[in-house]
Symmetry: C2
Subunit: 391 residues, 2 copies
């Protein structure tokens, strides 16, 4: 394998290491982040970025070597939509929606898994494992198929069955467990140790976050290289939030954008809100949430490994965290679908419900550029039989 | 409403009319096509096209006035993927797949309905109706929601229930009928006459085809303004095939591309193959197919209104038509999902199965640039309960 022009750094303890092999987490147990000190693409590189397509258009800012082909299904380039009907109703007529349901496999998870499987297969891995709340498992199964490798997916048996059916359809080796994603993570790590499979868990390898970084890069591009004022993001594992923070910091350092970092708001369900509780209590770590439950399965993450990084991103950007009830997030998702024609996931609904609350409290203002995320498609959570059954 | 800088022409009888109001079909019963004689965007316009996103990036070539906002969900910009594993297996290692499942609502139908509902709502329509084999109904329901208008959708009761569930979820007024899409078309036209609703049926208004035209425009852009040698397209109503033909003719006339028209191959199921039969018999019209049946519900169109235009497009480009068995198209769709990670519809599978057959017969060659279409996502045809049920 050719030498890679980046290395890894642990923000928690300051350790660094080369990117060779299959890096997992730092010895201190915290995630590795990718650093590119030898790269300094100038403003002229933005022209090349405009000529390419998908999230790998940003290859100057991503973990890929010149001439190397990523494992891709065309992820990225998702729409940034004005949603004036919904926006006006909640007091933010200019509200924008980043609709990640347009990705291959129907969710934002495509970005991270494209990057992670690109790097791990380049390093020689052929067997993978991960725990999932649903969407990551679908994306892992699809990108494993695309790469010609195998993946075992551990999911809670309560996961919406359409998500499970997609995992199986892409050829994923699905194992259902009682419990939540934390329990699945333990089983996945045990199986990785036993089988030698590469662990793709959130932040247990350094590249999913680099894929998620393209959420922020794409927002900057779509806003003509200006940054929004505030972003509402449904935070389970939190890679997207951390990835966008990293994206904006890198863009500012390169001089590709100017101004201040967008305020990042983590949105959770009141049934599982460890980040919201930590922000309210002023902590830099999350306490595990007891008996987590929410219909927004992607938010059922009681003890995220990226808690420190998420809390740091929120603090450094002057953002916050907000929990909404399941009834409210479901109603918001349904409204978005009927008012704007966007197939909104429960997690996406949560960001709209949170936006309404933050307007009421005067945290978000009408004149600001505010972006809410629909991280995935609603159909993955629906059971067609339920909808069409007669009275 | 401002004056529109295009008019309509009937290829069958040569009649023309202005684009004012809500045009349906020509008095001779054949479809209207849009003509833009006053437009002549030069090569420099391609730079502006690169700066925009989605199918409306091509607005210089589409039925939209300067400054006018389309009814959009971000449709278009779908991936053009190399599929080397599948391609090599069937003898076309360079085979490309245009993956239309990445559109909002999961299929190519988004393009046509975005264009049709943009123009009809601009002309004042607030109630719509259409018959559907499934995907067009989903797209119509979504774009009607986006525009704040209503749509009644007539579908065969045999339509896959996931498709039906999506129509209902977007707020579409779903009416199920015994029979095929032709029977639904009759019911839809009767209801249009009764209620005054605007009829969005394939080619019964002139703008869905303009949206589908962007399939061809996008291919040209993605191939760096070169045309492919051959295109395999699953033809039900045929708007996509006719739209691409129109796109390539217009691009050649503008001087944006050079060379010869891509050979267009219409792919159908042996259970409903009126176009294939007409090509084989050298006719310029299709005879209605008796007792049409195929699992590829989008191909269950026994008497397409666009038959003359389709047959002309096939003849003028030196293409052809090919029918494949349901078993073969389903196996090809499954293989594509497992080999390449693309969630392939039965219609998409048909194009891969047809490509394999056309290679065997020496019609397609290894050195050619060949594009197969996956017109929609496979999940819309699956019932998650079936996949997860135990033995």
């Amino acid at each position: 394998m050719r030498g890679l022009d980046w290395h890894l750094e642990c923000l928690a303890c300051g350790a660094t290491r080369s990117a060779d092999g299959l890096p997992a987490v730092c010895e201190c147990g915290q995630p590795w982040l990718v650093r590119y000190p030898s790269r300094n693409p100038g403003l002229h590189a933005r022209a090349g970025i405009m000529q390419r397509q998908g999230m790998w258009r940003f290859r100057e800012l991503l973990p890929i070597a010149p001439g190397e082909d990523p494992v891709t299904l065309g992820e990225g380039d998702t729409p940034l939509l004005a949603i004036p009907r919904t926006g006006t109703r909640i007091g933010l007529p200019g509200l924008l929606l980043k609709d990640e349901s347009a990705n291959p496999t129907g969710s934002f998870k495509a970005r991270g898994l494209s990057a992670a499987i690109t790097r791990a297969t380049a390093a020689g891995a052929e067997r993978f494992t991960l725990p999932t709340a649903g969407n990551a498992g679908v994306a892992a199964a699809a990108y494993a198929a695309r790469a010609g490798v195998t993946v075992r997916v551990f999911a809670p048996e309560s996961t919406p069955r359409t998500l499970l059916a997609q995992i199986v359809s892409y050829g994923g080796d699905l194992v259902l467990l009682r419990g939540h994603i934390g329990d699945c993570g333990k089983a996945s790590r045990a199986w990785a140790a036993e089988s030698g499979a590469c662990d793709l868990s959130t932040l247990r390898e350094p590249y999913r976050i680099e894929g998620k970084k393209t959420l922020g890069l794409e927002l900057a591009l779509q806003l003509s290289w200006e940054l929004p004022n505030a972003i509402l993001y449904p935070a389970g594992g939190g890679t997207g939030l951390i990835g966008m923070w990293k994206a904006f910091v890198e863009l500012l350092a390169l001089g590709w954008v100017e101004g201040t970092l967008p305020r990042l708001y983590a949105v959770q369900s009141t049934g599982c809100a460890p980040v919201v509780r930590a922000v309210r209590e002023g902590r830099d770590r999350c306490e595990p949430w007891t008996d987590p439950w929410t219909v927004a399965s992607g938010l059922r993450v009681p003890a995220p490994l990226g808690d420190r990084l998420m809390l740091r991103a929120i603090a450094e950007t002057g953002g916050g965290a907000e929990a909404v009830d399941d009834a409210d997030l479901q109603a918001a998702a349904t409204s978005l679908m009927l008012e704007e024609g966007v197939d909104c996931s429960p997690e996406g609904g949560a960001t709209i419900a949170a936006a309404a609350e933050l307007v009421r409290r005067g945290v978000l203002h009408e004149g600001e550029t505010v972006v809410a995320f629909n991280t995935g498609a609603g159909w993955l959570y629906r059971n067609p039989g339920d909808l069409l059954r007669g009275p």
